[in-house]
Symmetry: C2
Subunit: 219 residues, 2 copies
C-alpha cells in the first residue's frame, strides 16, 4: 500500500512479530541446537549435518553465519556469562579454609548441573582444538577471578601450597563428575548413588579442613 514506513523502517514485517526470514533468529536457533546436541550426544554427534537437522535449517547457513563448527563453538563460548558467570555467589565469610569449602560446593553444584561444560571438559582431554584452548583460557581466568573474589584478604596457613592443593581437589572433582556421567563407578565407590556421592563430597571437605585448619603445626 505504499505506506512510507518510516516509523518502523528496519523491523517492519508481518503484522505479528514473526519474520519468515530473520538471520538473528536463525543464528539463535543454531546456537540452541548446538547446546542441545552437545548436552545430549557430546562432540561425537556434533556435525554440520546433525546440527542443521536439529536447528531445522539448511546446513549451508551454518557455514554462512559461523564459517565453521569451530565458529559455532566460539559463538557459544562468547555468549553471555556462559562460563560460570551466573554461578551462585559465595558469601565471603570465615577463614580461608571455610571460604574454599563453600566455593568448592558451589563449583561442584554448577559443574554437575551443566552437561555442556562437562562435555567440553571431557573433549578437551581428547582433542584440544584451538577453539577449545581459547575457551579454556577464558574459563580458567573466570574461575581464578572468582576464587580471588571469594578468598578476599584471607590467607591459607603457612607451609601449605594452597594452589596445588586446590588444583588437586578441583581435578578430582572434574574427573569424578565426568566419570559419573558414563561409568558410575570408580575405585570401588559407586558414584551414581547418593551415598557414594556423599562420601566423595565428605572426603573432599575433610581434606580441605585438614589442609587449611589453622591450628596445624607447619612442617
Amino acid at each position: 500500500m505504499s505506506d512510507h514506513a518510516d516509523t518502523a523502517p528496519v523491523e517492519s514485517n508481518d503484522a505479528l512479530g514473526v519474520r519468515r526470514r530473520d538471520r538473528a533468529a536463525t543464528e539463535a536457533r543454531i546456537l540452541d541446537a548446538a547446546r542441545r546436541i552437545l548436552a545430549r550426544d557430546g562432540f561425537l554427534g556434533f556435525g554440520v549435518n546433525a546440527l542443521a537437522a536439529e536447528a531445522g535449517c539448511d546446513k549451508k547457513l551454518i557455514g554462512r553465519y559461523f564459517t565453521d563448527l569451530d565458529g559455532v563453538l566460539e559463538a557459544l563460548g562468547g555468549a553471555l556469562g556462559f562460563w560460570l558467570g551466573d554461578v551462585p555467589e559465595v558469601p565471603p565469610k570465615g577463614d580461608y579454609g571455610e571460604r574454599m569449602a563453600a566455593l568448592f560446593q558451589a563449583y561442584a553444584t554448577a559443574l554437575r548441573a551443566d552437561p555442556v561444560l562437562q562435555q567440553i571438559l571431557a573433549w578437551e582431554l581428547i582433542q584440544p582444538s584451538a577453539v577449545l584452548q581459547r575457551l579454556e583460557t577464558v574459563r580458567s581466568r573466570a574461575v581464578a577471578l572468582w576464587m580471588a573474589r571469594v578468598r578476599g584478604d584471607t590467607a591459607p596457613p603457612p607451609g601449605v601450597d594452597a594452589p596445588a592443593v586446590n588444583a588437586v581437589l578441583l581435578a578430582a572433582l572434574h574427573y569424578l563428575t565426568l566419570r559419573q556421567r558414563t561409568l558410575q563407578g570408580f575405585a570401588g565407590l559407586d558414584l551414581a548413588s547418593t551415598e557414594g556421592q556423599a562420601r566423595i563430597d565428605d572426603a573432599m571437605l575433610a581434606i580441605l579442613r585438614l589442609a587449611y585448619s589453622q591450628e596445624r603445626s607447619p612442617t
Copy 2:
C-alpha cells in the same frame, strides 16, 4: 621329497623361520599397530582402514581375525599382564599411610609411562562402549587386588573414610595426567614443567600424610 615330516609337522615351512603366510604373526602385527595408533592418535584415529595401513595388511584380515575393532580392543586388553600386571611391586613397609603413599607414587609412574592406558581412560569419559566397560572392570579389579596386597594388615586411622580419600586422590591423578597430555595447564599450575609436577606430587603426598597420620584426633 615325501619326507614323512612327523618330526615337525605343524611348524614346518621355509628353511628360515620366516613364513610368508602366518596368521599368528599377522595378528601380532595388527595388535602392535593398534597399540601404536592408540598411543599416537588416540581413538579418533582408530579405524579399520588406518589400522590395516599401520599394520601393513589388508583390512579384510582385521575383520576375519578379530571380527571388529572392538575385538581388537578385547584382544589388546586380554593380552598378558597388560593392566598394571608388571607394575613395580611396592614393598609393604610402614603404616597404612606410608604404604598408600608408595603405592600412589608407583601408580603415578606407571600411568604416566603408558600412553595407551591414558587414551583409554580419556575415551571412557567420551564413549564407554561395552568393551571398554569390560576392560574397566578387569582393570579396577586388578588395582583393587594390588592395593589390598600392598596394604596388608595395616589399617587407616579411625574416623577416616579411606576408600573415599583414596578415590579422590586417584581421580585427581587421572585427571591431571590426562590433562597434561594435551593442555599442560590447570588451575594456574603449569603441569608440564617439572616444578608444577613436583608441586602436584607434593600436595598429593601431603594430603595423604595429613589424612592418614596416626596422631590425629578422630573427629
